[in-house]
Every structure is written in C-alpha cells, then in structure tokens.
Symmetry: C2
Subunit: 369 residues, 2 copies
C-alpha cells in the first residue's frame, strides 16, 4: 500500500507532464502546485493574462456526511475548497465545471439545496458555471474544476521561498478541525456517532468547518493587487492539509527548511465548555495538524515584510517563523520544519496533516477514516 | 425522480452561467455544448486562440466493471471519451486534469496498469497532465477535465445547423454497443454475468467498446484544417449517447428538425456467429440507439457538402439525412427526428440513447443499469 505522496509521484512518472516543442510555450506551470497555469486569458486589463486551473474531488463519507452536513453546506464547501487553490496562487476566480454523481433519490430537494449552496459560493467568489457532467451513482461524488485569471507575472507558487524570508499565516488555525471534532465526538467528547451539535453556542465554532472563508482578496493582494503593484510573497499555499503538511509543501517546492515558533502561531480559541470535557483538546495540536482552514500560508522577503500591515482586507496576518536553509542532515522523509516550543527547545515537526491513504492518527482529521 | 435533461436544466437555472459586464468577454461559449470556450490560449500560430474545456466522470459499476475491463482499457477509455468532446468541437487536445479516487488495494498493480492506459491515450492525442487530485474511496471513481485549443472562429458547436444542410456521420454506428452486449450477455446471448468473451474472433468486435477511436483529425478538418482553410460543418457532436439522442441534441441547439434514412445509416456488421443466437441483435437498432461510438455526427451546407471526399484522414463519412425546419406540431418532449424506413414509410424517432437517470430499456445501454 502506498501513501498519497507515493501515489502522486507514480502518476507523474507514468504520464506525460511536459508540453514539448515550440507549442509547449502555452504551459507556464504544470503539475505540482495548487493550480496549473496556462498562458492566455483574454479580457485582462493588461491584455492577455494567464488561466489557472485546479481540480478537486468531494466525496460522500470521505469529505462530507450527508446525514450530518446540510446539502447547502456541502454545496458551498465543495466550491469554496476548490477555489481556495486559486486564492493561494493570487488568481481571480472566474469559472468552474461541476461533475456530479448521485443516487436518484438525491435529485429532488437534496439537489436543490445543494445547488443553493453552490450558487451562494459562486456569487460570492464571482464565478460562473461553464460545464459539467451528471451521472447516477450509489453515492454522492463530485468533482469541481475551477478556473481563474492572473496577470502574467503575478502568480504565487509554492516554490520561491528563500532562507531569511519570514513566514506568515492569515486568520487563526485549527478552527475547522475543532468544528469537525465537535461533530464527530460531540461537546462532551464521548459521542460515537457524528451529529450536528444542538445549541446556538456552537454555531460560530462550526461555521469555519461548514462554510470556510477563503482568502481570495488576500491572495490577490500578495500577488500584486496592492499599493505598490508588486508581488509581495515569495511563496504561498492554502492550509488545506494542515500547517505542518502545507508548510512542508512550500519547503519541498522551494528546496528550503523552516523554523516556526509555537508561541506565535495564531490558534483557535477553545471555549470553556469544551476545555473541561473528557477528551482533551490542544489548540496548538489543532493549529499544527488540523486541516481545512483554507487560510493562506506565505513567505515574504524581510524587506517587503516590513511593509506588511497587521491585517489585509480585514484579515489578520501573523508572522510565525522564518525560512532557513535546507538541513544537510535531512534524510528522505524526515521533517524540514523545526518547531520552537513554549520552553524554547527546538524539535522537528513531522507532517501530520491529512493523507487520505494513511491510517492511524492522521486519518482522524476528516469525517470518515 | 427527474431525468437527466431535467436535472441539467435545474443545475443551469440554479447557478450563475453568464459572465457579466465588460469582463464577461472572456467567455465565448458556456454551458450547453460539448465543451466550454474561453477566449485566450497562447502559442497558437494565429496569435491567441481559444481554450476549450470539458469534464467527464467515469465511475465503477456505471461506466466500467473492474472485474471485466482491464485497468489499461479503463485508463485509455477514461481519457478517450473525455477528449472526444474536444474532437467534436474541432479543437486540438492539449491537457487534462485527473481526479482519481480508489480503494487502497487498487493503488498497486491496478493503478500502474490504469496509468499505462491513460499514458497511451495521452501520447496518442498529444496531451499532458497538468493537475489532479487523489482520494481514497470504496469505489473507483474518476473525473477527467480536458482542455484543448482552437482558432478563434474555428470552433464547431451543436447550434448552427440550417434546414437543407446535409447530415453526415463518420465510421459505422453500433459497434461499441455490440461489443458491450457481447460482454454483458455472452456470444450465446444467455449469460447473466458480465464476462470478457474468450476467443480471438471477438477481439476486433470488442475493440470499439474497449478502446474507442476518437475523431480528432476529422473534427479539426471540419473546423478549418482543410484545403480551403474554411469551416465546413455548420454543427457537430460526437455520438456518445447514441445517434437518436445526439442528433436530437443538434436539433434542439439549432432549433431545427432532421430526417434520416434507415437504408443510408452505416451500421455495424453483426458476425454470423452472433446472428444465429437466441437474443436477436438488430444492427439498425444498435446504430440508432447504441452509445459510446464516439464518431462525429455533423451537418454541412449543401454547397460545401459537394466538396466533401468520401473519407477524411482514413475515416469514411456517410450522408445519412437532411436538416428540416422544426415541425410546428412539435410537442414538448416529442421527437424532432423522422426516420424513413426501408419500406419508405416515415416514423418519428424518439431519443432512446443513454440517460443515466432513466430506467427500463434505455438503462440497458451501459454496463450496470
């Protein structure tokens, strides 16, 4: 059995991924980042820009539970999580294609509720449906391909972080994971059946899990839509797998390491009512390894970092660490990230984010292991 | 319960499908055809062309049976059937994104065999992988989004057929359906379990079902890559749902009707060994309603039709009928197509092609009803 990284590498090795010859000039960036970049998108202020494309599956029982999540929430999140990949690269979302398969008994009110959620997200992000495919299937499975536009040189990638660059993250981390935990284990931490917790006091907590706020404006700002009309971030990614995993993606793509400080990480606040419950919730653990926050994690050269405001478009940004040279002692598979703890000691931080093909601890991160 | 057309209309009504304002100029053609057309694709001879996008799901138990179909055949067909939508619009295939979900025990040899099939199709069509997504799931489900390029004015659509235009089809129809029938019911027509029939005499018959030959060259020829550098077809579609359904799609999009002659339709030849079996196979029925041939069905104005050779790039083309004005008596849901039988009598031809949400006769058309 292979893990996700091995599977992806196998796919890349087996299939052609380079556009060859003179005609290959159309492909600016292929596999390996949050989205691919195709040269050519008409209707840009700057003439012809780039077209960014990314695809995401959203599967019943893996990514959502129809007996718990409302059709509207499922629809909203389906488009939001796919579009977050465009936000991470600083693109403006433009369109999407919806591949939707479902049982016949979901084609009535369930479908209508689902579409309402998708429509709400589409209007919020400024996207239009341009294509799709429908099938009958025993489970609800969908696939959303999103497209966006960007100016030729304004795309943020995972590669490009340099030693000395400062590491920032938007918002607070671990909030989506905490909301999911509340559904999976209940407010008392003892529930064995996933259930939407009753009571309005949980509403705000659940919202980050149910309807993640993606960072389109921040991505565009970092890519060049700022007072200096300059690209500010040297590398960026959205936190979909969890901080430890996503920072590792930046480090791998950029060929660097990272050091982050536990005390600086903006963590989700755990309400009193949950702090006293049986199963202990650790806000740092949630922030380091919890997935689906869809915040932006980005590196900024020190000079540019001094120009950064504390919040951008209403979103707080926090400096959490620094890019360091890649450790010479680095073994294959070992961590590229050092975590400086509250007591000042430094430990390697392994990737413990979401890997759909792993079992055990990591598998706890999404609805259904 | 709704049928596929109702579901698709519901989706289009619920979601934004028009790019608004000045910026909307980037969308040349949205939902409703084989592929969407985005203005802007760099690296074209003519400067900046158009980018075509289409998405297709390919699902275990619905579109293929892993206990019968080899992983290589599944991989090849997954990309071929998606790319056929680009061929239908006269585009040059360029890239694809692969969303792939599967059980952990399929990530070994099965995945490798699957990727070999995808790679073979990708090299044949000249496409590169530019993105994707992997998940663990209890079934094999995949979604392929394909992209191609075309010159600004050279795109073939379903709309545009005019009364008087002649109707052509490439190759022979019903071949893929016959191959599938052989797997589902066996050479004797009595098998209850889908099984790959033993014996090399079936190989050629099965090939059209297992590894459909898609018509990229013909599509490009019809769109303008011909001696006259002119668009030849007024409308086109690929025969994925079956002739009766796909011709109806052209008629609906073009606001016309059609008359076709049974005696002219190039039908699959049914081998002697199958003609004598219990369950009767009717080659005309297979040609009219059998799906997945991935031939091109297109309309050509009479003047241009006189210039058409009998075969284009080695693919035979056959004139099967004529576009007629839309009948005034047409009721909602009634047929837009008249079939002139072998005896000269004319009957309405209802769409009996593949509808995943219908039951009964139509549901027989794909592996698993």
């Amino acid at each position: 059995l292979r893990n996700e990284t091995e599977i992806i590498e196998r796919i890349w090795r087996a299939l052609p991924t380079q556009a060859g010859g003179k005609a290959g000039g159309w492909l600016r960036l292929g596999v390996g980042d949050d989205a691919a970049v195709i040269r050519g998108f008409a209707g840009m202020k700057s003439g012809v820009g780039d077209c960014l494309l990314s695809t995401d599956a959203f599967l019943e029982g893996v990514h959502f539970l129809p007996e718990v999540h409302s059709p509207g929430d499922i629809g909203y999140k389906a488009l939001a999580r796919a579009t977050s990949d465009l936000a991470a690269m600083g693109a403006s979302p433009r369109f999407f294609l919806l591949g939707l398969a479902m049982p016949a008994d979901r084609t009535g009110p369930w479908l209508d509720g689902f579409l309402k959620g998708v429509a709400q997200a589409a209007r919020e992000f400024g996207m239009v449906l341009i294509g799709g495919d429908t099938s009958r299937f025993h489970s609800i499975v969908m696939n959303i391909t999103v497209g966006g536009s960007a100016d030729g040189n304004g795309v943020l990638t995972r590669a490009g972080a340099q030693p000395g660059d400062l590491i920032f993250v938007s918002g607070a981390l671990g909030a989506a994971q905490l909301g999911l935990d509340l559904i999976l284990h209940g407010p008392d931490g003892k529930s064995k059946t996933p259930r939407m917790p009753a009571g309005s006091q949980w509403k705000k907590l659940l919202r980050r899990h149910l309807r993640p706020k993606i960072q389109i404006g921040l991505g565009r700002w970092l890519a060049g839509q700022n007072p200096w009309a300059r690209k500010i971030a040297s590398a960026a990614i959205d936190t979909s797998d969890g901080l430890s995993a996503d920072l590792n993606h930046i480090c791998e793509a950029s060929g660097v390491g990272a050091r982050i400080w536990a005390a600086r990480i903006p963590t989700v606040r755990i309400p009193k009512a949950l702090r006293s419950r049986g199963v202990k919730l650790d806000s740092l653990e949630l922030a380091l390894h919890g997935g689906e926050d869809y915040q932006l994690l980005f590196a900024v050269p020190p000079k540019a970092a001094s120009m950064l405001p504390q919040s951008i478009g209403g979103t707080r940004i926090t400096e959490i660490g620094v890019i360091v040279p890649r450790s010479k002692a680095l073994r294959k598979g070992s961590s590229r990230i050092e975590l400086v703890g509250f007591d000042g000691t430094t430990v390697p931080l392994p990737s413990q984010g979401w890997d759909p093909f792993s079992t055990g601890k990591r598998a706890r991160k999404k609805p259904n292991p």
